[in-house]
Subunit: 226 residues, 2 copies
């Protein structure tokens, strides 16, 4: 990038950070646990959310924001699960930014009030969303077993920043070459404090541990240890 492009990017990131700080304060007041889900296209973000919503919607107020370049497909899928879900179309941009999240929440004030969980599904992309804080409690990166075990070192930015790595489509492990132990080691090298879960939305493997993690984080946010 040219010097000018770098300057502009820094200005954009700084302005995003201000908006993200506002969002974080808002979510602190409402006691909403906010996660920012990031992955390649087709890693199973929406499918994991469908399973998650099915389990959580009885006991909690759950909402979702769905980032995409085009189409309302993902928000439609989550609305069918009976929760408020809003699509944010980025018009070509490869990531969500904090202002888009603020605008979406302002336009849906009633539906998104006092949520327990807000899931933000970012645009399918392992690179651009990494730099944009959305006021979330933590980032979650998804990696499906069909994408290959070399991905953590090829996309070190997101794997070192995400507090949780979710390995998805574990039911396909018998059919692909994917060294799970090697991935555990790579992720722990990049991110020693990060947690890693292995799930399958098809068989239900690992979903209980995933739900427990979310519930514990919500509890910790509302009643932080002294």
């Amino acid at each position: 990038m040219t010097a000018t492009a770098v300057d502009v990017k820094q200005r954009i990131l700084a302005s995003n950070q201000l908006a993200a700080t506002d969002l974080r304060e808002m979510f602190r007041k409402s006691g909403t646990l906010v996660t920012n889900l990031i992955s390649s296209p087709g890693s199973g973000k929406t499918t994991l959310l469908e399973v998650t919503v099915a389990a959580l919607r009885e006991g909690y107020r759950v909402g979702a924001l769905e980032g995409d370049i085009a189409t309302e497909l993902d928000a439609d899928r989550l609305r069918r699960m009976g929760i408020p879900a809003r699509q944010i179309l980025t018009g070509g941009a490869c990531h969500l930014d904090a202002r888009q999240v603020i605008r979406a929440l302002e336009e849906e004030v009633a539906a998104f009030k006092n949520l327990d969980f807000l899931f933000v599904e970012n645009v399918g992309n392992l690179i651009c969303p990494t730099s944009y804080d959305l006021g979330e409690d933590f980032k979650i990166v998804l990696l499906s077993v069909t994408e290959g075990d070399d991905k953590p070192f090829k996309y070190p930015g997101i794997f070192s920043k995400a507090s949780v790595t979710v390995i998805t489509k574990a039911d396909l492990l018998p059919h692909v070459r994917f060294d799970l132990d090697a991935v555990r080691e790579k992720v722990s090298t990049l991110n020693p404090k990060g947690r890693l879960l292995v799930v399958s939305a098809q068989t239900g493997e690992g979903i209980v541990a995933w739900l427990r993690l979310l519930e514990q984080e919500l509890e910790m946010k509302r009643n932080p240890p002294i």
Copy 2:
């Protein structure tokens, strides 16, 4: 984006276009067929190239440029196939640009001289690489069956610009939900003149048709119909 950001992006794209025009003229003189492979991370670009190189290296001079954020893993894999391959590390950027291609070729003048086929594997990303011309003859988008059949409409930019769509990992079709007919229809809506191939690097399905397409395009480039 702010007005300034848009201005900067337009300036960057215009400057890229100049470099791409130089590249295209260079490849016209050398009679090299250049393809720009674009997909999500883990769709199988490098694996398809391994199979392709294994078939073509006997009869043709083949080279590869490998775009990545980090690591030399992909170029290593292709060098092991016995062809010249150079990694281009973008240092965080989510796409290759034409100047990076020029620099890489200048630094490897001897190895990359008079190639028949030059495969440029872009950074794993369905969004950013779409706008950057690299002087290629055509773009190829890969979509693995594990990524889901909703992707063409969610990433219409690349599916409408790529002359060829390659559906990869067809061997996994029995294990996933992926409506191939629906994908054919979506791609043909976005890109009526585009071609679509279905391949599996594991079973060899569709590879002959893929190789034939490449050989025909090379022949057409060198002996265009009058």
